[in-house]
């Protein structure tokens, strides 16, 4: 479908995943400076990427995100729909 949206969603999902991983690592290594720096950097980057995605394609949460009119949150597709998702190519692994 919209390859720009899929590409942006891929970058955002990848960045959010590194945040989750660093979150779990820091939970058992609270004094690891290196990890904390990576976490904070990733969060700042993800904020920008998320803002860009939501500006173009609508809210990602019904909590932190604003919506244009009419209420966009309910709009298709939802994450369990085929068309919502991107695909990771073999060489990216």
């Amino acid at each position: 479908m919209d390859s720009n949206r899929e590409e942006l969603l891929k970058q955002l999902s990848a960045l959010d995943f590194t945040i989750i991983e660093l979150n779990l690592f820091l939970n058992t290594h609270p004094r690891d400076r290196n990890a904390l720096m990576k976490y904070n950097t990733a969060v700042e980057q993800a904020k920008m990427l998320r803002m860009e995605y939501e500006r173009r394609y609508g809210p990602l949460t019904a909590y932190y995100s604003t919506s244009s009119y009419p209420w966009q949150w309910i709009c298709n597709p939802w994450p369990w729909h085929y068309s919502f998702n991107f695909r990771l190519a073999g060489e990216e692994c």
């Binding site: 590194t18 991983e21 690592f25 990576k38």
Partner: protein
């Protein structure tokens, strides 16, 4: 009658562990990086120049019986974000792909 109080001189001043770790005061933060305290890392620590980075602890001390010990991971390198997502972990040392139902999974053959 002896009144033995548990809060003797042996008790530490703060409860152990602290309910959460004290945040470093803002005056100690690196200028330009509002989040990171400006404290030198311990010499020879992973990440200091020239140190070979081993991504886990290799010696565990004071091991006791009737317990399980999982070595701590140490942060060395990380995958770039998209590769991390694809592989399921940010850390190369934790990447452990499934090789399929091969000889390792056959039951052992005894003589």
């Amino acid at each position: 009658m002896m009144n033995m109080r548990s809060s003797d001189s042996k008790m530490p001043e703060k409860p152990y562990p602290p309910e959460c770790y004290d945040r470093v005061p803002e005056s100690e933060y690196i200028p330009g990086n509002p989040y990171l305290p400006n404290i030198e890392p311990a010499p020879g620590a992973p990440g200091t120049p020239g140190y070979p980075c081993v991504p886990q602890e290799t010696v565990i001390e004071n091991v006791k019986l009737a317990r399980a010990y999982v070595p701590f991971q140490r942060l060395c390198s990380t995958y770039p974000a998209v590769r991390a997502l694809c592989r399921g972990t940010l850390f190369p040392e934790l990447f452990s792909p499934y090789r399929g139902p091969d000889k390792k999974h056959r039951p052992p053959q005894y003589e």
